[in-house]
Structures are given as C-alpha cells and as structure tokens.
C-alpha cells in the first residue's frame, strides 16, 4: 500500500499532523537509528582499542604468531560489498525514473552480492585457523566482523523485503520510500565494513 493512500485513509481518524520539518519522518528515524548503530560499532571499536593499544601487555605483533588474518580474501569480499552499494544506487535511480527492469535487476544483484559476502565470511570463519577462545585478538576479530555480519544479515532481509514487494509492483516513481530506506541502511552497512576491514585486517 502506498504512502499516499495511507495518508488519505488515515485522514478520517486523527487530524493530519503538521509537518514541522523538511525532513521526512521515516528518513529521519532511519538516520537516527544508524547514528545509534554507529555508537554500537563504536563500543566494539573501543574494545578493540583497549585490547590492542591501551593494554600494556598487548602483543607486539598483531595478530600474534602463528595466526594471521585472511587479508586477501577479505579484500575481495570488500570489493563485492562496495560494488553492491553501486547496484543498490542503480536500483533506486531506476525506480525513480520508472525503469522497472533496472530496478529489479539492481535489487537482485545487490542481494546476491550481499549473500555472497556473508557466505564468504562464514567460510572464512571456518578456515581462519583459530576460534573465539584464542585470545583477545580473536575476541575483537570475531566481535567486529561478527557484529558487522549480523548487520549484513539484517540488511539482506530488508533487501529481500524490497525484492518481494518490487516483484509485486508495489513501488512507483512517486512512491519508493520502501526502497530508499533499506538503501540507506545498506550503504551504512557497506561504509561500516570499509572501516571494519581497515581496522581489523589492514592496521
């Protein structure tokens, strides 16, 4: 059901609320939620900072011998996720212009790439050579990548929702809020991954 029809329908109930800001309520809600999510990541980065930088007994080599992080595989994975941000943008632009085929193709591509990212990460976990009990470096490795993985999973379910509704023709050039908001979230997940990748694997 489109936002417009909803507004019309609701009119017989409550009086129409005054819109006192140029910002759309749902977009603002999503942005504030993302702000809160950034702080959640912030607490995990703080834990990383404490065990690696502040801790006087932190190992000189990171990760300590004989472990190492799969920098290359994760790099390829980064490329996949960054690309998916572009396809997401393409999908949104397409529905804004009313190009249904481009919209659906973009959404499906985004979803497939997100899924590929997540599966690669699962395979990486299984072959990384250490588990959560291997020490503080493993704690922050699994903590940050796992937290991010959970967000990819949430993002994927939002994308799936858009795809289902997209194939049923629920979005039009006028009403594409249901694409835009998951899109904003997906871009956030991507950008956050770049930070996580740089911190955990490269630094």
């Amino acid at each position: 059901m489109s936002a417009h029809a909803e507004a019309v329908h609701e009119h017989h109930g409550p009086p129409e609320a005054n819109q006192s800001s140029r910002v759309d309520a749902r977009t603002l809600g999503m942005l504030l939620f993302i702000g809160s999510e950034i702080m959640l990541f912030g607490s995990f980065f703080a834990a990383y900072f404490f065990v690696r930088v502040v801790n006087p007994s932190a190992p000189a080599e990171w990760p300590p011998e004989p472990y190492h992080f799969p920098v290359f595989v994760a790099g390829v994975n980064t490329a996949i996720l960054v690309t998916s941000s572009f396809t997401m943008h393409w999908a949104l632009q397409s529905i804004k212009r009313g190009q249904r085929a481009g919209f659906l193709a973009g959404m499906v591509l985004t979803f497939v790439m997100g899924l590929a990212f997540l599966l690669t990460q699962v395979v990486e976990y299984l072959n990384v050579g250490f588990n959560t009990g291997a020490g503080a470096f493993a704690s922050v490795f699994f903590g940050l990548t796992g937290l991010h993985g959970a967000h990819v999973a949430i993002g994927l379910s939002l994308l799936l929702m858009v795809i289902i509704r997209g194939f049923r023709g629920h979005f039009t050039p006028e009403h594409h809020h249901g694409v835009e908001l998951p899109g904003i979230y997906w871009h956030f997940v991507d950008v956050m991954w770049i930070v996580v990748y740089a911190t955990v694997y490269l630094l």
Binding site: H9, H12, N18, L32, G42, F50, S57, A136, S139, R168
Partner: protein, 647 residues
C-alpha cells in the same frame, strides 16, 4: 472512505475487519497474551533446537550447554515469540510478506475498557499509562527487595539471607530501580504528555512505540527470574563489573540480556521522541516555544540514542567472555580489564542525566504553573539542558578515580565534572527565581517539586565533593556514595516522578486524586527519606563500606535507625498506591484544566479525545506566560471535522 467511518467513542470493527472465527480460535490464534504465551514456548523450543543442532553439527561436546540454550532460547527466541504472539509484528509482517497492508482501521488505538491496556495499543496515551503502571509494579518489587536487605542490615552479622542472596538482592534492587523504574517511568510520563504538548495527534511511529513498551516487561521479568537460576541472582551490582561478573553464577546472564531488552526499548522510544519533536510540532510551535518538558525529553532522547549502545556493547562483551570463551576483559587471554569500566561508564554516566533531565522538565512545568509566573530564564533553561548533554559525555572516568586508570585522566575528568555544576546551578537558580514573588499553590505536585529542588541540591553538593579527586579517593565505596546516589535518584528523580504522576493524574484519568492523602504521602516520604539516607553520609565518612552484608558493630545503632526509617519510607508508598487506586476508580471528576496551566495538553478534555485534537491548534506564543496580560500560548481551532464525522 465514508463507508468505513465510525464514531470515535463507539467500539466497533469496520466492515473490512476480519470476521472473528469463534471465541476459542480467537483466544488461541488472535493477537493477545494467550498467543504470546504459547508462541514464547515455541520460540524457546526453536532456539533450543537451533543451539543443539549447530553444536551437534560442529561436534562440540557436550551438545547441551545450559547457559547457551538459556541465552538463545530463553532470552532471545522466547521473548521474540512472545512479542510476535501479542501481535507487535502483525502489521509489519503483512508489509514484509508483500501482501497489501491492512488499512489502519484504528482498532488498535485507544482504550475502551481495561482489557485494552493488556494488548498492543498504538495510542501514546494508553502506552504512557501502560508504562507508568508497569514501572510502578517493578518499583514495588524493587522496593520490597530494599526492605528485605534493610531488615538484614538492621544489625551486624547474618540474620536472614546468605551472602550471595544479599548481593543478589542489592543488585536486582538497583537494576530494577534504574532500568525498570526511573528511565521508563519518565518515558511513560513523556509518552503521555509530549505529543499533546506539541499539538500532535500521536507519536511519529505509533507501532514502534507499542513495541518499545512491550520490551520492558521482558527485561523486568528477566531480572527478577534470575533469582530462580541455579546459584542465585546476579550479584555483581547493577554495574556488573568485569571480571567479577565473569565469575558469577548463571544469574549474571539474565542481567547481560535483560539490559539488552531494556536498552532496545529506550533507544526505540528515544528515536520516536526525537522524530516526533522534530517533525510533528503544531504550526507556530518553534523550538523556542516548546514547553521545557519537551526540551528535556529532546535532550534526554539524544543522550539515549548516542550512549545506550555502549552499555549494550559492554554487556555483550561480558556475555561473550562467559559463554564464548572470548577474552575482552580477562587478562589471561590478553584482555584489558579496565576496558569494561570505560565502556560501561561511557553509557552509565550519561545515563544519570537520562534519569534526571526529564525530571527537570517535569519540575519546570509544575513550578511555573503552581507559582503562576513565567519560568525564569526560559532560554537558558533549555540551553543548560544542552550544556549538560555535551558535558555529560566528557565525565565518565570520575567513576574510576580509584580503579587504577591512567593518572593523567583524573584531573581533566574532575574539571569537566565540576563544570556540570554550572548548567545544573542555572536550573536550580531559575526554579528559585520562578518561585520568587510567585503566587505559590502548595498542591501535592508542587510539594514534590519543591522537595525535589531541596533534596537535589543536597545530592548535587555531595556530587561536587565526590567529583573532586582527593575526597573521592577517601569516600569511594563507602555509604557516602549510597547516600549521594539516593539523594539524586530518590530525592531527585523519584520525587519528580511523583510530582509528574500527581500533576497529570487528572489529565490521564479524568478524575482528581485526594489532596489530603497526597500531602500525607509527601510529608511521610520526605521525612522518612531524609531519616533513611541522611545518616548514610555520616556512617559512610566514618568508614562503613557499601555492598556489605555484615559490618563493624560500632555502626549497629545507626543502621538500626536507618532500617526503621526505611520501613516508614516503604510504608509511605502504600498511601500513594491507595490514593491513586481509589481516586482512579471513584475520585471526583476533574476539570479539563484543574491547574489553569497554559500548555496544550490542558486545553483538551480530561482524559483527552482519542486523537488528542479535532484539529491541530495554532501556537502563537510561549508556554509559560502566566500573569502576562493578553498573552496566549495557542489558539484552539473549532472542532469542525468532529461535527462532520458525528453527523
């Protein structure tokens, strides 16, 4: 649209509503507490199977791990099942599955009988009352725990409980009071008042609002249920310091996860308040015309959205350390112990302002309308809230002066801590200046507001002592701290909650409370509160440590007096409950505006109409222009639309 129009005060389902299948079917499979109960059980079984299957698949031995199953099944899947069962997700599931959403028929909006308070309701006024009643239930439970351990502390030695139970009682008491009473009770009062004050028909996201209420009982039940866990309730205090918390029995997990649910609830509510305040103000309601309660909740919500994820993180780390053998805070694995306190207090210091700023807002409303004067220094009152918000993020390490953290961090943290006295002082000064030459009406809410100002000054002054490094080193972990926190949280926050409940009681229920009983309640509370907590300053400075079940016999007499006073304090709450319950049932009918206040919620009927306003009012001036000739806060439009609907 006209076909489905229905009168606001007659409870009937519109034509397109699904026909009921028969009462048993509806009871079992319709949204409600019954479906919530069985879906919670199903959720638990699903979570348990998920853990068992995964552990068996990876051939971990043993496949059965009680703590993991408890976390995944009992504290994630079962609550989600409950929420799905009571119908929190129904609308969204329709949307997600791609079916056309059922048009909002407002059947889940507003309360027509007491039963409507026990289901998912999208009306902010109903949710506000749900919040308040729930939080007062948990207040009672937490208070009874305090009575219990005060009985234990009445004389030295162990009388009634063992040490772990004592620690559990203290920890659960603090946890319930903070996460299940003060923070959500403010959310409840604000939920009721803020949309009305803004001239909005409801919150920005009514369904999210309903969901965030229902997360709350889940957290509360988790905290209390920890007493049933083998080994007893979590006993590491409400601060749950690592690595102490990591060696606690199973009950600690209940704390780790309960905090997540309570935190999620307050983040969602805060987000909702922020969006409502930014996007749904009535025409003419600029930021500088908003009542101070709205300002207070605006700043509080910013604090919640920014800070609360940090306590979520800190509890996740402790839980991972406990069940996944990580070493965030265990030195053996290379973890950093002090990291916990930094992350925890980065939330929990701003949290004391989360527990205080809404109270500032309530008191500003009450003092201004009860002394019939404009609030003194309105803009500075709002700006000082923002000042506290900013400074509040830069003071967390003053909780750690004796924790062994970096020495250079002490003095900067001391300076920022003492700086907070400036915006807080501005507020106290402005309240007193508002009272100056006002026509003061000593009603019950006003008594509580004045009680708050005096008690908060005492708590604030001991806060300044404790903010100074040398005094803090001497007084750390003594009863001086207990006295300080109760002066700011009981004499401060709880008094403002009482003030708010009495102030908005006629608006919420349409009935007036008993003024005589209200005054009895205030004086009993005020006197016994001081008799309980003031001597704690003294025994604290004499060296009695806090969080102990046994103590030096020299402190015996003083503790006996404190315990007796605390029982009177507990008994004074009975007066409140009796007053509220009897007045709600058969109190005299209240006027729409018994306090002759200016803010918008008093310009509609008591209780307010189901959608608050027939037409959104036009705001033309400030909210506190008492005694200013010709000043108006808002112009209420004639109820045009309502006439059409009823015709």
């Amino acid at each position: 649209m006209t076909a489905t129009q229905h009168s606001h005060d007659v409870h009937q389902y519109p034509a397109h509503f699904e026909p009921p299948h028969g009462s048993t079917w509806k009871l079992l499979f319709g949204p409600g507490l019954v479906r919530g109960a069985w879906m919670a059980a199903v959720g638990f079984v699903l979570g348990m199977l998920l853990v068992l299957v995964l552990r068996a698949w990876w051939s971990w031995d043993p496949a059965w791990n009680t703590e993991v199953i408890l976390v995944v099944g009992g504290m994630v899947f079962a609550p989600l099942g409950f929420l799905a069962g009571i119908g929190s997700f129904d609308y969204w599931l329709y949307y997600i599955s791609g079916r056309p959403t059922r048009p909002e028929d407002h059947s889940g909006h507003g309360a027509h009988s007491w039963k409507d308070y026990f289901r998912v309701n999208t009306d902010h006024k109903v949710i506000g009352i749900q919040y308040l009643v729930t939080t007062f239930v948990f207040f009672t439970v937490g208070g009874l725990m305090a009575m219990f351990f005060r009985a234990e502390l009445a004389q030295p030695g162990l009388q009634f409980v063992d040490s772990q139970t004592f620690n559990g009682l203290v920890s659960v008491h603090a946890t319930l009071m903070i996460f299940l009473f003060i923070i959500p009770a403010f959310a409840g009062l604000a939920n009721f008042a803020v949309p009305l004050m803004l001239g909005a028909p409801d919150m920005a996201f009514p369904r999210l609002n309903a969901l965030s209420f229902w997360l709350l009982p889940i957290a509360g039940i988790m905290f209390i249920a920890s007493f049933l866990a083998p080994g007893g309730a979590f006993g590491a205090g409400w601060t749950g310091y690592a690595p102490l918390a990591e060696g606690q029995p199973l009950g600690q997990t209940f704390f780790n996860m309960g905090v997540q649910w309570a935190g999620a609830s307050s983040i969602m509510t805060a987000l909702n308040f922020l969006v409502t305040i930014i996007t749904m103000r009535a025409p003419g309601m600029t930021f500088w015309r908003m009542p101070l309660l709205v300002w207070a909740n605006f700043t509080t919500s910013l604090l919640v959205v920014i800070a609360t994820p940090f306590i979520a993180g800190s509890q996740f780390f402790v839980m991972f350390d406990r069940i996944m053998h990580t070493s965030f805070f265990t030195p053996e694995g290379g973890g950093y112990v002090l990291g916990y306190q930094h992350i925890f207090w980065f939330y929990s210091h701003p949290a004391v302002y989360i527990m205080m700023l809404p109270g500032f807002g309530i008191v500003s409303e009450v003092i201004s309308s009860m002394s019939r004067k404009p609030i003194f220094g309105y803009r500075l009152m709002a700006l000082s809230l923002l000042g506290i918000l900013v400074l509040g993020f830069s003071v967390w390490a003053h909780h750690m002066f004796v924790a062994g953290m970096a020495d250079w961090l002490r003095v900067p943290m001391m300076i920022t801590t003492l700086l907070i006295a400036i915006p807080t002082g501005i507020k106290v000064f402005s309240w007193v200046a508002t009272l100056w030459r006002g026509r003061i009406h000593l009603t019950t809410p006003m008594l509580f507001a004045l009680g708050f100002v005096t008690m908060f000054v005492i708590g604030g002054l001991s806060g300044i002592y404790l903010g100074s490094v040398p005094i803090d080193i001497a007084a750390s972990d003594t009863y001086f701290i207990v006295a300080h926190i109760h002066y700011v949280l009981f004499g401060g926050s709880v008094f403002t909650i009482f003030a708010g409940v009495y102030y908005w009681f006629p608006k919420m229920t349409g009935r007036m409370y008993d003024e005589r009983l209200g005054k009895w309640h205030f004086w009993l509370t005020f006197v016994s509160f001081n008799a309980t907590f003031f001597p704690m300053h003294y025994i604290g400075l004499r060296g009695m440590p806090r969080r102990v079940f046994d103590y030096e016999s020299a402190f015996g007499d003083m503790n006996f007096v404190i315990s007796i006073a605390s029982f009177v304090l507990g008994a004074s709450f009975i007066v409140f409950v009796y007053n509220i319950v009897t007045s709600w049932v058969r109190g005299p009918i209240a006027d729409a505006n018994p306090w002759r206040a200016r803010t918008l919620e008093w310009q509609v009927s008591s209780p307010p109409p189901i959608f608050n306003f027939d037409e959104i009012p036009q705001v033309v001036g400030g909210p506190y222009e008492y005694g200013v000739p010709g000043a108006r806060h808002a112009v209420m439009n004639p109820a045009k639309e309502a006439q059409e609907v009823h015709a």
